[in-house]
Amino acid sequence: QYQERTIRVGSTLSPEHPTGVAINAMAACAAERTDGQMTIQGIFNAALGGDQEMSQAARAGTLDMFVTTTSPLVGLESRLGVFDLPFMFNSTEEVNAVLDGEFGQFIGDLMPEHDLVKVSFWDYGFRQLTNSRRAVASVEDFQGLRVRVIQNNIFIDAFSALGANPIPMSWGEVFPALETGAIDGQENPLLTIYDAQLYDVQDYLSLTNHVYAALMLLYSETLFNQLSTEEQAVVMECAAEAQTIQRAGMAERADAALAALEEEGMEIVRPEPAAVDAMREAMGVVYETHAETIGQDVIDRLNAELATIRGQ
């Protein structure tokens, strides 16, 4: 039932990131459950390429598993764009309830269409804005800010709608561009901001929580089907165990990162709920533009689920 095999898991993150820790925990779990027959080997720091490259490799059956945020897969499955819509979620609890519930199931079921198998939803955190120009607390403060965004049309449109000048740029260029002042700011989850030492080049951190970044652990469908039923079960169950470790690690590290960022001298800006509402209002045009590609039914479905969770 168990064959001796090596399962390689690609990630753009470091082995020290809670995701790396979770992958290694998953490896330990799998080794124990199969008497060392199944080796899960994490390959970190984008050594196997970026998210899009890894997704193509997994689809082609040349890479077993990888971890990615949902955004780079929007070109493959436009419905994943629903996660890129700003200000959809209010808290991590809400997010986890959605991902572990019916909506997460629905998203996971879309993956086999694209030769992928969803193994687990992990956590990358809410994205926050940093910049070196001013304390951004309201829509007005975005005006003219040169903000690096990921290469994604929803992000570009969202920051344009807020009055900023969004600049799509590859991550490798971001630190030096912030350092020299070629760009003013960027947006990423707290832990990423801390790990990349952006506090050395950024003065203001606004807790905007504008987009929640979900991580997906995906398996190549071709290769998943080559596993025996027992092996598939081991992968799924160990990934579920690792999910708990990953989410707990993220929560802990994100809190620590926020404290550390303040310690490093960043000014922490907490926008008022009214200011956040104004930002959300400015997003109207973004929702409209992208409802067509994402599918209004998908957006409605998520909103309905959120309403249930919020007890409305």
Partner: protein, 428 residues
Amino acid sequence: MTVLIFLGALCGSLAIGVPVAFALIVCSVALMAHMGNFNPQIVAQNMVTGADNFQLLAIPFFLLAGELMNAGGLSRRIVNFAMSFVGHYHGGLGYVVIFAAVILAALSGSAAADTAALAAFLLPMMRQAGYDQGRAAGLIAAGGIVAPVIPPSVGFIIFGVAANVSITQLFLGGIVPGLMMGLSLVIAWAISVRFETNLKPMPKASWKERGKAAVDGALALVMPAIVLGGIRFGIVTPTEAAVVAAVYALVIGTLVYREIKLPDLYRIFLSASLMTALVMFLIAAAMVSAWLIAQANIPAQFGQLLQPFKDNQTVFLLVVMALVFVVGMALDFGPTVLILTPILMPLVREVGVNPVYFGVLFIIVNAIGLITPPVGIVLNVVCGVGKVTMSRVLRGVWPFLLAQCVVVVLLVLFPDLVLAPLQWLRGR
């Protein structure tokens, strides 16, 4: 075992004359077969994603800028400028070579192009003035290899992308070591030129002539300020700085100096395109092998070989640099950087060496590889352009080669020589 298969396939195919890019594909196939997952999609997919990188766009732009500078008369004016100031000293033309080499290095990212320009302008002059041919050619070769160390540098771009290290910081980190290489050449030249007794001195230029040379060359001389200043003060990214340099050289060469005509432009763009394609095809192929190196876990195996040296950073760096030097003797600059970077970087991070500092050292040693036999492209360029035999150049180049190796050892022993100015240049 995996390491041996990798090296065996690579060296074996290189030995029978397979071009490096294809040899990298061959050793990738060997690795796939060894791991039991042969799949042509791995090669096809990684070739393209390896080339699909915005930061690498700086390569065609800097190559184009270099071509435009040589054709547009910018390089020649820089040599004239240097000549008017130091040409009249004993061994003065040698100092002109070093001076011009450093300035050209700040304009272009390519050692071969700089060396060709220097050899074409200065070697005939040095021959006429009675300098030893081998020594003069050796100095020009050693001066040419400052180009990849002082920014802009195609070497830093390739390394930065392959190692995921900031190209901006590599550029800023290369300035002081590059100047040190120039200084080491001045010292080595001052010593060796004392053996030259029958030199015809150049006439000393008057301040008026110097002023004229400076004005004439001013538009060329401000180019380093445009490129480096633009990056340092956040006006442009390194990629954009490269395109600004190309457009600037184009405007000066065609509209101000008027030395480039329309038909020349076509030839220049084509030449830059083809050079780009050669580099990029190699990079693309190297990305395939890098992907398989990561999958096969080669860095870990290699790390075990270097285990005894990992405790001490200085010893580790000396051993690694010696290794790079040996590889660089037999392999071209680009392939050495591309093959060794994915293998060495995980170790460098593990040992805790600053990646920017490592990158600067690594590129210097690779640059020195350009003037070591048997494969030393810059030596070939000097021989070809300057009409000197290889054996004479080899007899002449070693004092300068030695001087630059001393610089490497100094940088290894005193990391602050790279790090302190880097901190200062970064303004924090």
